[in-house]
Symmetry: C4
Subunit: 257 residues, 4 copies
Amino acid sequence: MEDVVIQWQEKVSLKEPILVEGLPGVGNVGKLAADYLKDAVKARPLATIYSKYFPPQVYVNEDGTIRLVSNDLYYARGSRGRERDLLILVGDYQGLSPEGQYELTDRVLKVAQELGVKEVYTLAGFAQGHMVDTPRVLGAASSLSRVEAMKPLGVVFSRTDPGGGLLGASGLFLGLGRLYGMESVCLMGETSGYFVDPRGAEAVLKVLSQVLQRDIDLSALEGKAREIDRIAAKFREMEGKSAPEIPQAREDLGYIG
Amino acid sequence: MEDVVIQWQEKVSLKEPILVEGLPGVGNVGKLAADYLKDAVKARPLATIYSKYFPPQVYVNEDGTIRLVSNDLYYARGSRGRERDLLILVGDYQGLSPEGQYELTDRVLKVAQELGVKEVYTLAGFAQGHMVDTPRVLGAASSLSRVEAMKPLGVVFSRTDPGGGLLGASGLFLGLGRLYGMESVCLMGETSGYFVDPRGAEAVLKVLSQVLQRDIDLSALEGKAREIDRIAAKFREMEGKSAPEIPQAREDLGYIG
Amino acid sequence: MEDVVIQWQEKVSLKEPILVEGLPGVGNVGKLAADYLKDAVKARPLATIYSKYFPPQVYVNEDGTIRLVSNDLYYARGSRGRERDLLILVGDYQGLSPEGQYELTDRVLKVAQELGVKEVYTLAGFAQGHMVDTPRVLGAASSLSRVEAMKPLGVVFSRTDPGGGLLGASGLFLGLGRLYGMESVCLMGETSGYFVDPRGAEAVLKVLSQVLQRDIDLSALEGKAREIDRIAAKFREMEGKSAPEIPQAREDLGYIG
Amino acid sequence: MEDVVIQWQEKVSLKEPILVEGLPGVGNVGKLAADYLKDAVKARPLATIYSKYFPPQVYVNEDGTIRLVSNDLYYARGSRGRERDLLILVGDYQGLSPEGQYELTDRVLKVAQELGVKEVYTLAGFAQGHMVDTPRVLGAASSLSRVEAMKPLGVVFSRTDPGGGLLGASGLFLGLGRLYGMESVCLMGETSGYFVDPRGAEAVLKVLSQVLQRDIDLSALEGKAREIDRIAAKFREMEGKSAPEIPQAREDLGYIG
């Protein structure tokens, strides 16, 4: 079996496409944001990626049919105006092992290059370990010119965060992307790290919509965010009492970035 | 060494064969059922599958001779009437690693395709975490038409179970089977998950005998089931007293599905 | 880098050679026995086997020079009489991973086949979990004829031991050896499993010397054994008092078989 | 993706180059020493080594740009006099798995051979488990002649240390280097093992400067060392009180050698 198997749903030719990646990770911020973007721009399925670097697992849909775990590429055409075409990577898992992470990212980059991608945006969460009222978007980029381009959009480049660097796909797409001559930016929405966080995803998408020069209607995300706000409020209460449940909750929801 | 080594005992040409898989897993339901089926239909050994994805282990037979751990393909001819030929996969282990799971399943599917298989049934257990008096058979399938075909046979397609999907060979044969254009169904016998469960295997085989349109004499399985019933009765007593031994027993007998 | 690198010290042509394997494992019985045999028959170095399946480790000799961990093949000519040539596999480690175990064993068997080997003896320990006064030699074999050939030499073939089969190289050489058409026997010296055990090695070598029809002077092993006897006596005292140190000691010395 | 990807910054032809390796490990002694040497001799970047055997991680620089984790080869020309050219291997990580260690070391040795390297020095720390006032430099070498050449420089070859051999890149370069016909020495600076230790690095560099016949200004390392001395003094106080924090600190800072 090939290490990575790609099943194409369509053959397309894209115009200066931008790759956006959002896979499960801290607070699922990146996954939430990329899934939302995919729906908001009415992206169409392009390719399904299966791999032995994912768990040997199928999901069961509500109607009883199954679906093998995968990553999935979608694309969306830009309008005739200034918008560029989009390629969006979403999925159930990141690669389970370091080798898997490298192999999968490299393979997607190869495909992206063939489709003409020269620019990558990865979406992720940044765990602060405490409740965050108004999440900032932290950034990291492949070059100084990208750093400068992001600052006017409100992206924060901190000397200290993230101190240990970025682990997982969001960082690897930047690092390996360079070997493909691609410019790239990682947008990290601040989050507590305690639960799935639509607030962080919202913050990231606000920046991304400016980058892509696309209007993205964020109202549906607002609903989810308010629900989480209620849970967060309860957590904050508990934090005041130094509740012992919090570390446990964190363990349940902490993924690779 | 090849990752997967197949030793053929015979060269056969099969007529529209159906592949049935049952390997060790939850309550060993799938393994019990497939092993029983193999004997009941007097299936003949077709091929032995060795692999570095299995443990480096040999079993010692009662006469002092050894046997390297393996998976094994058996086949059974259908009668001249309506029965179709059968290909049955049984074995000592599932692949130890995710990669191993994918490689082994993919290899068996390749072999199955060459033998003309277009339809796969995988047998498994579904752990309820509590004693089950009359086990139902839960299902998952490759397509809606298969789901519908199973419902009249009493197979339950639940919106919530199995919530986290299927892990291991029973699910993977469905997921990867699709890439080979195969239709497939996973039949999961409910079981406590606390011990090896012939009751779950019996439930699964009752459905399967209808699917295969073969009479399978289940009386020998009944004997084993009654023995376990006695053990189960003791467990139920203990459950009433919230006995601390149960989680431990569960750990001993819980395998991948 | 090749997965397994073999460095030849000599090119030889052997007459009906018998392969004897003894690597680290339970009570180090197999390793002790094979190392002793190698010296006793004045075997000469034939090939050194390096592999990425071993730890990334070098040993430092007393003179300050280093040696990369390895397995090593030695050979010894039979006398003009009835003795056959010997090929002896000794080494620092077994493969670290299941895959490594399979790859290494398969590679040595390939080499052995090219050298004309049709018969394999693997030496191992069998952990009883309690002190053993007069260790028996348990056996397992590739065929019934080998089982029968071993019984007159005092080898015990038990219906129950080893219940879970053999794990590691000693079993794998038998299991994979069959794919090379080789006959094989595993000789397991009983041992407590608490410490390195020359008594078990002695028992194994007594059987092996009959098999190989070679006189092996075991007096040097006797010295080591008596030393261990003294330690064993102390353990036995402690066992009477159900000493808590024993399980810990066992952990330190328990390897794969 | 290739297992190991090498990006060349320059094509050079070197004269009898000596390879010096220093990667993260015990007390980071080897890494500190090699990084310092690289700066002191004004070495120039030659090649960057990426690999799926490293973690899937990027570091974020202070200016917001990223850098994929790597190992890096630098070179420095010898002066017209007696100095020879240098090839220096530094980096963020050693290979994560045993296989990765072997593959990475082998690949660097291949490159080194093509560049004409016949001599290797690896720099490492040797954890004593207690505070060390004046660290000695322990040695291990590929041949007796190298052992003898090192003794007059104050390198200690102990019969007992390191008892268990050398684990990781520092040992592997010696062991695998032999397969490339390279002579090699490992220089191990004694260190407590409790924290990053410039004193151990200093000791190692003093020996190395004699070996390379290069003056290396160690004053900058002195500053760092004095800082650590102050921390060490506090530890020593605590050791007198058998402070419970020390083992924990050790865990945090103990890497493969």
